[in-house]
């Protein structure tokens, strides 16, 4: 029995990596009955057990082997459930598990005293389990289970504070663009996230269906083992559309253009949730999917899938640019980080896309994956640090902060470290090396696309450095804002403090949220450093991003060799046997070796960091000039407004997909459903009664009339008989 269902030996730990968080989620409501503290501890425990189980898979990376274990699921359709632990998924699963564990530990401090902790832990563990399911499953159908699992968990966590208090909103109230409000309540944001990612999921499902109906399977291994399905699809010109449709799912989940707008409103969730969504789960799921299917389509190299990779690369580039420009002007700390996530994921997509266009698939692939790893670390750290600041300051606007350097010393140092990584500070941060690897991959691809993408990437890198320093400067440098001064003044007067941060005091009093109480409690004295349970997790990540940065080049080479052996053993993609069709118009002799650094890439990384950080330091840290000067120049002011209004993309989406359809439905409801369709009943009723009225006239009840009609009838019959 055991053999027939495929639980041979060691595979059980790979299964448990994603099953344990689900078990934990299911048990949390029962455990919470015992005590809050106990359920906190067990949530952390489940996350760490999952992480330890993931760690037991690391030998796979070392040996370059894989585990593939299957059990029957839907026998009539030949669908099997299975897990596939290969180097790619093992590295990813460890990344996810450990970062999630740190975030869960951080949550214990951040969410302390919230009265919905049970629900919080349930969805956090559910989230982690779903993500691990995406990473480890061996077929697209199970990936989709996890895929929707993270979608649902993010919906529930974005709208976690469902009472829709004003302080949980995002966006500046009153900011209306073309009739569309730019601020959103948590529940609104949750629905927005769900629906927009659903649009991506619909595309992904269509792609999955196309593949399934031709291949008869969803399994990655099976798809690779026999490629006749790909021949069939190619004959019908369906292979590239199917791949692009699958990528549609990644567009939705990873918030790429044009489905990027949900990511900003997703900031209504508690900050650990934002960290989780941005660093390790949700948005990374899209990148991981591309990393999963990219080599597959590249391996089917007899069929030119260049169009697919071209789309991936360009979508990534557009998103990177679009979101970086908006991050420059946004006043909310979490939104700046959210924009930067979308932009950085654009980088990853660019790298994965260019991998398929170049002769050296592994270069771009490694660069994209390396950037995913380093981004996961520094972004989790940045978000958790931002959460610490929000926790203390009680406002999401950077204009309400400033001068926090002294009061929050540790937060400042670690946020600066991970911020440097985001900005790509040369030689000491992992962000620098991964970005450099992407630059190198773009330059060495040998295609014109690569060169144009490189310029976009270069400009985005400048903007990244600029907005990072802007953020750090606005939060930690300069003079303290009015808001902070008020807090410090009122520090001995609880009630005044509460009314200063809550717009609706009576309501707050009535609801008495415990979170608010804890905030009150924390802020009783002064602006201060957060507890160790909060700063230690992001400190660990900030330090490790620097440590990786110090050995960055060696680390990159290591990943490169792991990925190279993985790609060649699993997909047969080698550095020498590239048979890509588009290779005909590629110079074959372009950089035959990947060893060593690309000097142009390295130089441009330096230059981009220099320009961006220089501007950032000039305006926001040493503050030589007030950035308000742009309002003196009409062109700059208009540009600022254009960026601040989110390129009008959000308004466009709302008009096109919400407002106009709703008005149309309203018209149909008023005039068709209510008048025509619902009119059928009364119409029948009245026409019947009208007819009966006429028929009633024949029933006069007068004997003479009846006799007359009777006689007339007989005469008519007689006439008919004789004629």
């Amino acid at each position: 029995m055991v053999e027939s269902i495929g639980f041979e030996g060691i595979a059980i730990n790979a299964w448990l990596v994603w099953i344990v968080p689900f078990i934990g989620a299911a048990l949390i409501p029962a455990l919470a009955k015992k005590s809050i503290r106990f359920s906190n501890m067990s949530a952390v425990g489940f996350a760490i057990i999952s992480a330890l189980l993931a760690a037991t898979l690391i030998p796979i990376v070392v040996s370059g082997s894989e585990i593939h274990s299957q059990i029957p699921w839907i026998p009539t359709l030949n669908i099997k459930a299975g897990i596939l632990a290969d180097p790619l998924s093992v590295i990813m699963t460890n990344l996810v598990a450990w970062i999630c564990s740190l975030i869960i530990i951080y949550s214990v401090g951040y969410m302390h005293g919230d009265r919905d902790l049970t629900r919080y832990w349930f969805f956090m563990l559910f989230f982690i389990g779903s993500m691990q399911l995406i990473v480890l499953s061996d077929n697209l159908l199970m990936v989709f289970f996890g895929w929707e699992g993270v979608g649902f968990a993010s919906y529930a966590l974005i709208g976690f504070w469902y009472a829709d208090r004003k302080k949980d909103y995002v966006g500046r109230e009153g900011h209306i663009v073309r009739g569309i409000a730019m601020w959103a309540s948590p529940t609104h944001a949750g629905i927005k996230a769900f629906l927009m990612t659903r649009a991506g999921d619909v595309m992904m499902l269509s792609g999955m269906f196309l593949i399934f109906m031709h291949a008869g399977t969803f399994g990655f291994k099976e798809l690779l083992a026999d490629q006749t399905w790909a021949h069939n699809m190619m004959e019908q010109n369906l292979l590239v559309p199917a791949a692009i449709l699958l990528f549609g799912g990644a567009i939705g989940k990873s918030a790429q253009f044009p489905l990027n707008e949900w990511l900003l409103e997703a900031m209504t969730g508690p900050t650990p949730v934002s960290a989780l969504i941005h660093a390790a789960t949700m948005v990374k799921a899209g990148v991981f999917l591309v990393a999963r299917i990219g080599p597959l389509f590249f391996a089917l190299a007899a069929f030119d899938a260049a169009a697919f990779f071209e789309v991936v690369a360009w979508i990534g580039a557009i998103t990177a640019f679009l979101l970086a420009t908006q991050a420059i002007v946004n006043p909310e700390i979490k939104k700046v980080l959210a924009y930067s996530t979308g932009s950085q994921i654009g980088y990853m997509m660019m790298a994965l896309g260019i991998a398929g266009l170049s002769t050296q698939f592994v270069d771009g692939y490694t660069a994209g994956f390396f950037h995913l790893m380093s981004h996961a670390m520094f972004k989790a750290s940045l978000f958790m640090a931002a959460g610490a600041i929000l926790h203390v300051v009680g406002s999401r606007f950077m204009t309400d902060m400033g001068g926090l350097r002294k009061n929050m010393n540790k937060t400042f140092i670690f946020m600066l470290l991970s911020g440097l990584s985001l900005a790509g500070a040369p030689l000491i941060t992992s962000g620098f090396w991964s970005k450099d690897a992407i630059f190198a991959a773009l330059l060495e691809s040998g295609t014109s696309t690569g060169i144009s993408l490189f310029f976009i990437a270069f400009i985005v890198a400048i903007m990244t450095a600029f907005y990072t320093f802007r953020m750090v400067g606005m939060v930690f440098f300069g003079t303290k804002s009015k808001h902070i001064q008020t807090i410090e003044q009122n520090s001995f007067n609880k009630s005044q403090y509460v009314s200063s941060i809550s717009s609706d005091p009576t309501d707050e009093q009535r609801l008495k949220p415990d979170h608010e109480n804890s905030l009150k409690h924390d802020s009783k004295h002064q602006i201060h450093e957060v507890k160790a349970v909060m700063w230690v997790p992001f400190a660990i990540l900030a330090v490790s991003t620097v440590l990786i940065g110090l050995v960055g080049f060696i680390f990159e080479e290591e990943i490169h060799s792991i990925m190279a052996s993985y790609l060649s053993s699993s997909f047969g993609i080698g550095e020498t046997i590239s048979t890509h069709n588009s290779a005909t118009n590629i110079k074959q002799n372009a950089s035959p070796t990947t060893e060593g650094l690309n000097p142009i890439a390295l130089l441009s990384s330096f230059v981009a960091f220099g320009i961006g950080s220089g501007l950032g330091i000039f305006f926001y840290i040493i503050r030589k000039k007030d950035p308000e000067i742009i309002s003196k120049y009409p062109v700059l002011k208009q540009t600022w407004l254009f960026l601040y209004n989110r390129w009008y993309l959000n308004s466009f989406l709302y008009w096109g997909f919400v407002k106009i359809p709703l008005r149309l439905y309203k018209l149909i409801w008023l005039y068709f459903e209510n008048i025509i369709a619902q009119g059928i009943n009364p119409a029948l009723q009245y026409s019947m009664s009208f007819m009966s009225k006429w028929v009633k006239y024949t029933q006069t009840g007068v004997t003479q009339t009846y006799l007359f009609v009777f006689a007339a009838g007989i005469i008519v019959v007689l006439i008919m008989l004789y004629l």
């Binding site: 041979e8 030996g9 060691i10 030998p59 796979i60 070392v62 040996s63 370059g64 082997s65 894989e66 585990i67 593939h68 274990s69 299957q70 699921w73 839907i74 026998p75 009539t76 030949n78 699992g149 649902f152 919906y155 469902y162 009472a163 829709d164 529940t187 609104h188 949750g190 629905i191 769900f194 629906l195 659903r198 649009a199 619909v202 499902l205 269509s206 999955m208 269906f209 196309l210 109906m213 291949a215 008869g216 399977t217 399994g219 099976e222 083992a225 026999d226 006749t228 019908q236 309501d507 009535r510 709703l662 149309l664 439905y665 309203k666 149909i668 409801w669 369709a677 619902q678 009943n681």
Partner: protein, 604 residues
């Protein structure tokens, strides 16, 4: 094959025979006894239904009982691929709803909901005040199920006899209703089918007329009128079928279906499809649905929206697709199109509603559109998917209507604008309702997703394999409509459960276990069948394959191109290798020639 063991016969007629007893039990022994009696009857019937299913196997997939009846043919009861899931689910849901009915119907009969707050009536002060008083009274007495009902009796002692009698009558009708539905599903003869089909209308009519809301008499007539006209059309079609084929037994018709002249075939298909589409509530024939679902007593709304609409799906599957399978491919495209229109229209109208029950009615129409779309998809996967799709529909609609009932019980309103922030006060209801919403949207791991992906795959398969761009467009619209479905359900959920809570709901508490456990049971069923769908998929898919085996124009199942065994074998090798690798301390093992050679072997 056919036996006369009488198990199915007992399963069908037990509720009918015991329904007079239910009335007298209610009258003499009270509402509690009759609830448990009806529940027990339905459970026993379900068990009787399941016993023969357990004997089925791959070689012997059909269980049939046949009795000599009249000149119309034999009176048969048959469990095959299509009818198993329908029959079992209908009985299970009826049993579950019977338990939920108890508190709700006692209060309904006692007149607690007579001055129910109408949607959008918060400006109407008089109504609101009385509603609030009612609410406070409800809350005072809502400590636990039993104590609360006892206190209800003590407040209004003169009502006790009246309530008990009415409850007896309610459950007598309820049992007949359930029996009619399962009888329709199991019948093997057109006339028998029609008798059961009409038999379930009569109790439904009385249930609405006696226990419905404000305009109940008018609505019950409307319900009866529409469904009866549909049934008569269906009867005309079935009579023509039987007369041409020379018999009314399904077997006779199946073997003689080619005898039907082609010009008559068009008329027959038209009559049958239109007749059934009334019951499904397809676009333009949906007019009775919002009224009926909204004004029926809520447990009966659940029963009509879930199991009864299923009978429409089943009828279409059985009479059109199974019996008239030679005409299937000629008309499928129209059904496909009609389904898309229905699903978009129902979804759009659902967004406009404020009354929860009306919203659910339109969502039911929209969901029926999915099923109609799948039935017209002209592929085995599509038909299977839509036969499966009925299960998430029934489970989801049942939970959501019971949720609406729970909200009425506690808040005394049906208008979503009067609600908001209830999740804090009714956490169990909110959780279960979320599962139902996910089931309706089709999010894994609920059974909704399992049905949806199979159905949509089938639809797309037909479109691409026949190079039919119209079908591909229909598919795209249909799959995009899932976004519309998610939007109206999530907006509904937000309006009811999220946001600021109104001060008058401060003392609100969740419904008691007699309401929670039925809902939770259905929800767990939805989750279980989503994770492990094999028990419902296997019979349906096997049966669809046998129906369509003679028709090459019906798109068949996708076939796996590679040999699975090979891959599994290589995976096992890798695992063994990996295990031995772990055993060895030699970390350089993977560089060894031995390991490389194994890997190469595995890759080839």
């Amino acid at each position: 094959m056919a036996t006369e063991s009488g198990i199915l016969m007992a399963s069908i007629f037990l509720p009918l025979l015991l329904s007079p007893l239910a009335y007298f039990l209610g009258k003499k022994r009270g509402a509690g006894v009759v609830t448990w009696f009806s529940f027990g009857t339905l459970v026993i019937s379900t068990i009787l239904l399941i016993i023969p299913i357990l004997t089925l196997s791959k070689e012997n997939p059909v269980y049939e009982e046949s009795y000599v009846w009249s000149q119309f043919g034999n009176f048969g009861l048959k469990l095959d691929g299509f009818s198993i899931t329908f029959a079992v689910t209908v009985y299970i849901l009826s049993a579950v709803i019977a338990i939920f009915s108890r508190e709700y119907m006692i209060r309904k009969i006692a007149g607690h909901f007579d001055n129910l707050e109408k949607p959008n009536s918060h400006s109407n002060n008089t109504n609101n005040d009385s509603g609030e008083e009612e609410l406070n009274k409800n809350n005072l007495t809502s400590n636990s199920g039993r104590g609360q009902l006892e206190s209800l009796y003590s407040i209004e002692p003169s009502y006790k006899q009246h309530i008990d009698t009415q409850m007896g009558l309610y459950f007598a009708l309820f049992l007949t209703f359930a029996m009619g539905m399962v009888g329709t599903v199991l019948s093997t003869n057109l006339i028998e089918f029609y008798v059961f089909f009409e038999l379930m209308l009569v109790p439904a009519f009385f249930l609405i007329a006696l226990y419905g809301y404000s305009t109940r008499k008018r609505v019950s007539l409307m319900f009866f009128f529409w469904t009866h006209v549909g049934a008569v059309l269906l009867l005309l079609g079935m009579l023509a079928m039987g007369l041409f084929a020379g018999g009314f037994d399904f077997e006779t018709i199946k073997s003689n279906v080619s005898k039907i002249p082609s010009q008559w075939m068009t008329l027959i298909v038209f009559a049958v499809v239109i007749g059934i589409a009334v019951k499904l509530g397809a676009f333009l024939l949906h007019i009775w649905i919002p009224h009926t679902y909204a004004e029926s007593p809520t447990p009966i709304s659940a029963l009509i929206a879930g199991p009864m609409s299923a009978i429409g799906v089943y009828a279409l599957l059985r009479i059109w697709i199974d019996l008239l399978s030679i005409s299937y491919s000629d008309y499928s495209i129209y059904i496909n199109f009609w389904g898309v229109v229905t699903m978009v229209y129902g979804g759009a109208m659902a967004l406009m509603q404020d009354d929860i029950k009306k919203l659910l009615a339109y969502s039911s129409i929209s969901h029926m559109g999915y099923i109609i779309f799948g039935l017209g998809s002209q592929s085995i996967l599509g038909v299977t998917g839509s036969a499966l799709m009925w299960i998430p529909h029934a489970l989801g609609e049942t939970i959501l209507f019971l949720m609406a009932g729970s909200l009425i019980l506690r808040t005394n309103t049906r208008g979503m604008s009067n609600l908001g922030g209830i999740a804090r006060k009714m956490p169990y209801t909110a959780t279960i309702a979320m599962i139902a919403v996910l089931t309706m949207i089709g999010v894994p791991p609920t059974t909704g997703f399992m049905a949806e992906w199979i159905m949509f795959t089938g639809a797309l398969q037909t479109g691409t394999e026949n190079m039919d761009s119209f079908r591909v467009v229909l598919f795209s619209i249909a799959i995009l409509t899932t976004i519309l479905t998610s939007s109206y359900l999530l907006v509904m959920y937000k309006k009811i459960f999220f946001g600021k809570i109104s001060p008058r709901f401060e003392k609100l508490r969740d419904v008691n276990r007699y309401a929670i456990i039925p809902m939770a049971f259905v929800a767990s069923l939805a989750l279980f069948l989503g994770v492990y769908p094999a028990p419902i998929i296997n019979p349906i898919i096997t049966y669809s394959e046998t129906i369509f085996s003679d028709f090459p124009e019906i798109v068949s199942l996708p076939t796996i191109t590679s040999l699975n065994t090979k891959i599994v074998a290589s995976a096992i090798i890798v695992q063994e290798e990996y295990a031995s690798f772990l055993d060895r301390d030699d970390t350089n093992f993977h560089h060894s020639e031995e390991f490389k050679s194994i890997k190469i072997k595995e890759n080839r």
